[in-house]
């Protein structure tokens, strides 16, 4: 009966023990499954939410205590919520942005011209936002967030729902802005392609904790994932056990192996097999990042169940 009148709140920890430094000019991808605390982290860094504990400093300021000053120095793009005026031409939202951020006319015109050209906005600048495709709208959102020359650009899932062409345009543009203008980029995404093309550095979180911080290419080694080797023979050599690779399935002519050690190369494997086994073809597969991460999450889930 008591629960009818009193509500019990359970506190959900969205971010804990997550610690990192990002230097000016970096481009960092913040990655994690749904509910890992990605958006919460972005909201704390942009001054929307107040962290309950810990230290957070953006450009030397505590964001929620200096929300206005912080807001002037950052740009924020939310993939799933528009900041443009739905019923008015794109240009009107840009103009309001200019006034809110007090952007000097010359700088505004210069930025608008350059960004519009790079992202091909000119054809629809005077069209009402509601008439734009998602890709066009997203390009407009990104340009708007950059008009006041922010030092840091935060993007929360900027490519969500976009088609391949639009994704590519957005990625190329962001990589270029980071390279040429030195704008620090911090983005969250589910799409690893975003990180591969924009962010040299990857921060991975899961269940509110930091699990990886480093270069994308080091992720595989750190997660201990295996390369897959498939050998095709002209005639079945029978069961073939190797030192360098572990046989995972045997289909006779086709044999699948896993290479567990990073220091084993294809040459080592070939040397071990020798020349007299009628080997016809070899396929060595580097696990793609998606797979690395999937393996990691699956491993974590089974671990949690058995624990």
């Amino acid at each position: 009966m008591k629960t009818l009148v009193t509500t019990e709140y359970s506190e959900v920890e969205a971010v804990r023990d997550v610690s990192f430094d990002i230097s000016a000019g970096e481009a960092v991808g913040y990655l994690g499954p749904n509910g890992a605390g990605k958006s919460t982290m972005i909201k704390m860094m942009t001054g929307i939410l107040v962290p309950s504990a810990g230290e957070l400093s953006i450009l030397g300021r505590t964001p929620h205590q200096h929300r206005m000053a912080n807001a002037r120095d950052i740009g924020v793009v939310f993939g799933q919520r528009s900041q443009l005026w739905w019923d008015l031409p794109v240009r009107d939202s840009f103009d309001l942005h200019r006034r809110i951020y007090d952007i000097p006319a010359a700088r505004y015109e210069g930025n608008l011209a350059q960004f519009s050209e790079l992202l091909d906005l000119t054809p629809f600048l005077d069209r009402a936002v509601r008439q734009l495709s998602l890709g066009q709208r997203m390009r407009a959102e990104i340009v708007m967030a950059l008009l006041h020359d922010p030092k840091i650009l935060f993007l929360d899932e900027p490519t969500i729902g976009l088609d391949v062409v639009a994704k590519d345009a957005v990625r190329k543009f962001l990589a270029r802005i980071n390279r040429e203008r030195g704008v620090t980029i911090i983005l969250t995404t589910h799409d690893l392609q975003d990180i591969e093309s924009i962010c040299p550095r990857l921060i991975m979180v899961d269940q509110a904790r930091l699990i990886f911080d480093g270069a994308l290419k080091d992720l595989r080694a750190s997660m201990g994932t295996r390369r897959r080797l498939t050998l095709e023979f002209a005639s079945d050599p029978g069961p073939l056990d190797l030192q360098t690779a572990r046989l995972s399935s045997d289909e006779g002519l086709l044999k699948h192996y896993q290479i567990e050690r990073e220091d084993v190369s294809l040459v080592d494997v070939l040397a071990e097999i020798g020349r007299d086994r009628a080997l016809k073809d070899i396929v060595l597969e580097e696990p793609n990042i998606e797979e690395v991460i999937r393996t990691f999450y699956q491993g974590r889930n089974t671990a949690a169940v058995t624990a």
């Binding site: 890992a36 019923d87 809110i100 951020y101």
Partner: protein, 266 residues
């Protein structure tokens, strides 16, 4: 602060243009509002035509009460009602988050970018009825009376806007707020009639916990020289202070609620 004042006309102008994209819907909506308010008023008129007076108030006085109530409500609500009712949705969809990432007050942005010009229908209806009422009832016209009339009207508009804002702001701290509006409109309905129509307990509530009595019943009783239950002699000054006092409270509450903001979703 000054920058905010410069932004207000731009937000209002953009908002007007955006709303005018749907001119037809806008006009039909206005017509519907006029009909709704006029028929509510016709009901009171029917009652009074039958019994001559209501709680000692004649038709002209009731017309002044009703028009004062509608005008003060419309002015106050145009700065608050739809904006604050939608705040719950802005929290849920995360659009309030976006407002917080701009170097400006989210309140100024919300209130003026979404300023509701639709209240023009309430305002025109109220002004027409008010003119008629003021010509019908005997009034000792003086500068003091007119000044009091305008000041108490402003105070009443502030009462509306402040209460609406506080109700809406609860969405920031507790993500839900819309259930509170039903409660509000229940008492709002009561506040269109003279206070002495009600038992003391209701009068008490309307002057304290839900101070909607200050929207019309108290100031109009003062203006037409009727006694005000419970308040007595302090009624004139109480009606003038209610608005500014509640507005200050609303500012504090808004700040408190924004500091408790937790957002919604991951």
């Amino acid at each position: 602060m000054l920058r905010h004042l410069r932004l207000i006309p731009i937000l209002l102008q953009m908002n007007l243009r955006a709303q005018m994209e749907y001119r037809g819907a806008f006009l039909i909506d206005r017509l519907a509002m006029i009909i709704a308010y006029a028929s509510a008023f016709a009901v009171i008129w029917l009652l009074v035509a039958r019994f001559d007076t209501l709680a000692g108030w004649n038709w002209g006085e009731l017309a002044l009460l009703y028009s004062f109530h509608t005008l003060a409500y419309a002015v106050g609500a145009s700065f608050s009602f739809t904006q604050m009712r939608d705040l719950e949705e802005h929290v849920r969809l995360g659009t309030f988050d976006a407002m917080l990432t701009r170097p400006m007050s989210p309140w100024v942005y919300l209130v003026f970018a979404r300023y509701n010009i639709g209240y023009i229908s309430h305002i025109s209806l109220a002004l027409a009825l008010m003119t008629w009422a003021l010509l019908t009832i005997p009034i000792d016209w003086s500068i003091g009376w007119v000044a009091y009339f305008l000041a108490s009207l402003l105070s009443a508009a502030l009462v509306t806007a402040s209460l609406m804002t506080m109700l809406g702001a609860t969405a920031l701290a507790w993500t839900r707020s819309n259930h509170l509006y039903s409660l509000y409109f229940g008492f709002w309905e009561l506040s269109r009639y003279p206070l002495n129509l009600y038992p003391t307990i209701i009068q008490g509530i309307l002057l304290t916990i839900v101070p909607l009595g200050f929207m019309a019943a108290v100031p109009v009783a003062v203006l037409v020289g009727k006694p005000v239950p419970l308040l007595g002699d302090i009624a004139p000054i109480a009606a003038l202070l209610a608005g500014p006092a509640l507005a200050s409270l609303a500012v504090l509450f808004w700040r408190f609620a924004t500091s408790r903001y937790q957002g919604a979703g991951g």
